[in-house]
């Protein structure tokens, strides 16, 4: 069987309206906004300290209502990607 995904307590979230709006959305749902993801405009790195750091199940709980926030265009709970040094 293919390896099971490992979910982390980090999210990638697309929020329009700039950094301030992203901070507001993050705070509203209990996340911390760690800032824009590299050079990708409107994409932010959210972190939630009260959920599992690593889990084979995607996250459950009120914090997942973030998905329904109208300001949030897209979001993805981050999975650990196995990378090897060559």
């Amino acid at each position: 069987p293919p390896p099971r995904p490992v979910y982390t307590n980090h999210w990638a979230v697309q929020v329009l309206g700039g950094r301030a709006e992203a901070d507001r959305v993050a705070a509203a749902h209990g996340y911390r906004n760690l800032g824009q993801i590299g050079n990708l405009d409107d994409y932010y790195h959210f972190y939630h300290s009260k959920t599992f750091k690593r889990s084979t199940w995607s996250s459950r709980g009120p914090h997942t209502f973030l998905r329904m926030d109208p300001q949030v265009k897209w979001l993805q709970q981050q999975q650990v990607r196995r990378r090897v040094k060559r």
């Binding site: 990708l40 994409y43 196995r82």
Partner: protein, 807 residues
């Protein structure tokens, strides 16, 4: 291709001569084809003003060979979310990879330390991103570090090379690639260099690696010193070019900077090739900083060549480029790259044409071949999408299949070039198939795009399978990338000049004082011998066909009038050429090659002698501070702290003044009150309570400072309650010893109690519990009292009450 180059550059970096992949032009080197990096340096290109960053597990920014070129602006710690990309140190040195890769690119030159980087004047940074959970966010952040400042991102990692994984960049990382290509370097496009896979032994195929498959990355492969296929190498159609690396147990590996300020000769795998290519590309960017990301790929396609790289699938594509699934367009050529880069004009805009979009589902018959063809005009009717000359070709394919490893896919271009998009992978038992997986090929580069394209899919079961379960091609599309007009212009500046490259241009050939005269120009009045002279004869002609019958020489004359003289192109071993007199002179005895007569002008030595580079002499025994390197037959410098070492710079046998030997290394004798910090390789100050120590804290004292005492492994100003200070022979300070049980304070000896704990009564120098003070035997105790034996502890235990009353 390989030219012996007597004017090879010399650097005082001790491991310079071990960088065999930089000396393939030398006569005795086993690597027969050159990457021509030295030649590029001689043209003045060393990576100045170019910024390279290594995406990996960190970079030792204070490494003596990296510190000078280290660039904090090209660095970040994504794992730790701060600006210090220093690796995490542990016993296994697990995070050495990034520092090793960085050294290949930009290790300083002529600093008497370790090696010389390919682009030794480039700026080098590091992004620590592998030492923690690698997620799509981590990758996207790393690929997007200061795209306006960093020129080249080098990555020597990827999905598992286990022969059964199909993985690549996530949505964010893909966007980071596209953003970098479109907006990086102020619109010229970031250069992403990626190491091809290392899963050769597992039968892996690098088309299943989404990073090397991306059109935005330059996927670099490896070849061994002898030009053989390394055991780890994977094949695929997206590999663009190749550099040297390790690869066979008997062939040499790569030398580079190592963790803890050291130097290693054990860097291996395709990890080597990405930084090496990144360094060479940096030279090209110095030659022409306006090169776009596509220009760089065009330049690599144009200048890389098969040389002597051994592969059974070298083919010539429709545009005349030789290409292989192992090595792409072949071994990189740094000199040709910089020469072309100087005069390069940007290729026309990239056009993208979705030439085929076929959503018909079809079964894939077992053992036979499913062949589907498509005729395309390559968007000829759309001026903004028309592709006349190809660059990358991507087949986006969705297949369901019970056992993915049984599949094999080929794509045949209108010119007949057959790209193997997927090979069988025996370890891939997955039933997940492919979902819109983008197989990319560079093999059709430069070909015409219009015509019939054929996709061939074969299902070749490696094991018995349920015959009812067949694979299905659900949909596929063909995306053509390229230009509407010829990338080099019909007969544009490159074309005329590029053709010159095929011909030896004057400056590439060693300057000859006299051009050899063609037959027609032999002067008429030559009566005695009218035949053809030996090619080495000069303009005065000859009196016979032999090299010893010339009247003067083009290059050098060897021998003297007594021993018969002849013309030679290169002076033999043991001689050096005097260009002025055009004569070969003998080297000093012991020298194999030299630059002059004196003993201090030797370049290499005869068997049994070692070449001492500092003094250019040949010696039987290497002097103090040097060791004999048997493979190179030269004297290499010991580590600065060693007076004598054996076999390796760090294997010391005798230390320099102020250092002492510890486990084969020389550790500085730190002044009293300081200790040797192995992390920072310097002496650190002890805690003020320590006279000598092994670290900065109070718990790491060896001896206490004056007026401090040693108690429970710490130096304290005074002993705690229940302890008493005692002088200990051999120690410069007193030690706090514990008093007897139940005693709060004692002096001079643990038994000489002066104050008992509560609930205990002092009885002489002992402490006895109040309720247990009784006599064992009255008669006996009277005798003890009368003989004044209450001083003795033993008798006190038996006659407690008597002795207590006796005072």
């Amino acid at each position: 291709q390989a030219r012996s180059d007597p004017q090879a550059l010399y650097f005082n970096d001790p491991i310079w001569s071990n960088m065999w992949y930089m000396h393939c032009g030398d006569r005795n080197s086993r690597c027969r084809s050159e990457m021509n990096v030295q030649a590029a340096w001689k043209r003045g290109y060393t990576g100045k003003n170019v910024v390279v960053t290594i995406l990996d597990d960190g970079i030792e920014r204070n490494h003596p060979d990296l510190a000078a070129n280290y660039d904090p602006y090209a660095s970040y710690d994504v794992n730790g979310n701060d600006y210090d990309p220093s690796p995490r140190y542990d016993a296994s040195n697990e995070n050495k990879h990034g520092t090793r890769c960085a050294g290949e690119v930009a290790a300083s030159a002529n600093n008497s330390y370790c090696i010389v980087g390919v682009a030794y004047n480039a700026k080098i940074g590091g992004v620590r991103m592998l030492d923690g959970d690698v997620t799509d966010v981590v990758e996207a952040k790393s690929l997007g570090i200061r795209p306006g400042y960093v020129d080249i991102y080098s990555a020597s990692w990827g999905p598992d090379d286990d022969g059964k994984t199909v993985d690549g960049p996530g949505r964010l990382a893909k966007q980071a690639f596209e953003h970098g290509a479109k907006k990086g370097r102020h619109g010229l496009g970031s250069i992403f260099v990626w190491a091809s896979g290392n899963g050769g032994r597992e039968g892996d195929h690098c088309s299943c690696d989404g990073y090397t498959n991306s059109i935005y990355t330059i996927s670099v492969s490896s070849t061994t010193e002898n030009g053989h296929k390394p055991w780890y190498l994977e094949e695929c159609a997206s590999t663009l070019a190749t550099t040297y690396s390790s690869g066979a147990f008997y062939e040499r590996k790569i030398v580079t900077t190592d963790l803890r300020q050291r130097c290693t000769d054990g860097h291996t795998g395709t990890s080597v090739s990405a930084p090496m290519a990144a360094g060479i590309i940096a030279l090209a960017l110095e030659a022409n900083s306006q090169l776009t990301w596509r220009d760089v790929q065009h330049l690599l396609v144009k200048t890389s060549r098969p040389a002597h790289l051994k592969a059974n699938d070298w083919t010539v594509n429709g545009a005349g480029h030789k290409v292989s699934h192992l090595y792409g367009f072949g071994l990189v050529d740094a000199e040709a790259l910089v020469v072309e880069a100087q005069k390069w004009t940007a290729v026309p805009a990239q056009h993208v044409c979705v030439a085929v979009a076929d959503k018909r589902t079809r079964s894939i018959p077992v053992v036979q071949t499913l062949r589907t063809t498509a005729l395309t005009t390559a968007c000829a009717d759309r001026s903004d999408q028309r592709v006349a000359y190809l660059e990358h070709v991507v087949a986006r394919i969705s297949i369901s299949h019970p056992r993915r490893g049984d599949l094999q896919i080929h794509l045949i271009s209108p010119s007949g070039t057959k790209s193997q998009l997927l090979a069988k992978r025996l370890l891939d038992h997955s039933n997940e198939g492919f979902s819109n997986w983008e197989f990319m090929s560079v093999h059709c580069w430069g070909e015409k795009a219009e015509g019939v394209w054929t996709l061939e899919i074969q299902d070749m079961p490696a094991q018995v399978r349920n015959p009812d379960k067949q694979g299905k091609l659900k949909e596929w599309s063909l995306v053509l990338y390229g230009t509407a007009e010829h990338p080099y212009g019909a007969f544009g500046s490159h074309q005329s000049r590029s053709r010159m490259l095929e011909l030896p241009t004057p400056e590439l050939q060693p300057p000859t004082a006299t051009l050899s005269l063609s037959q027609a120009e032999v002067p008429e009045d030559e009566e005695d011998y009218a035949g053809v002279c030996h090619p080495e004869c000069g303009d005065k002609g000859c009196d016979g066909p032999g090299a010893d019958q010339c009247l003067n020489c083009v290059h050098f004359s060897l021998g003297n009038s007594k021993t018969s003289r002849k013309c030679v192109s290169v002076c033999p071993l043991g001689y050096f050429g005097d260009p002025g007199a055009r004569r070969c002179h003998r080297c000093h005895r012991g020298c194999e090659t030299c630059s002059g007569r004196s003993p201090a002008q030797c370049l290499s030595c005869r068997r049994g002698l070692y070449h001492h580079q500092e003094t250019s002499t040949c010696v039987a025994l290497c002097p103090s501070g040097f060791y004999a390197d048997e493979s190179q037959r030269n004297c290499l410098k010991c580590h600065p702290s060693c007076r004598k070492c054996v076999g390796e710079p760090e294997r010391c046998t005798v230390c320099e003044e102020g250092f002492s030997l510890a486990r084969g290394s020389c550790i500085p004798d730190c002044e009293p009150g300081t200790y040797f910090d192995s992390e920072l390789v310097r002496c650190g100050r002890c805690h003020h309570a320590c006279r000598t120590c092994v670290g900065p804290s109070r718990e790491e004292c060896i001896h206490c400072a004056p007026n401090f005492l040693f108690q429970d492994w710490r130096c304290v100003p005074a002993c705690s309650e229940g302890f008493f200070p005692e002088d200990t022979p051999g120690l410069p300070h007193r030690v706090c010893r514990r008093c007897d049980e139940n005693c709060l304070s004692c002096e001079g000896s643990s038994r000489n109690c002066s104050r008992c704990k509560s609930g205990f009564t002092q009885l002489g120098t002992s402490c006895v519990t109040n309720h247990t003070c009784s006599n064992a035997d009255e008669t006996f105790c009277e005798m003890v009292k009368s003989n004044q034996l209450c001083q003795r502890k033993l008798f006190v235990q038996f006659c407690c009450r008597t002795c207590l009353l006796a005072g």
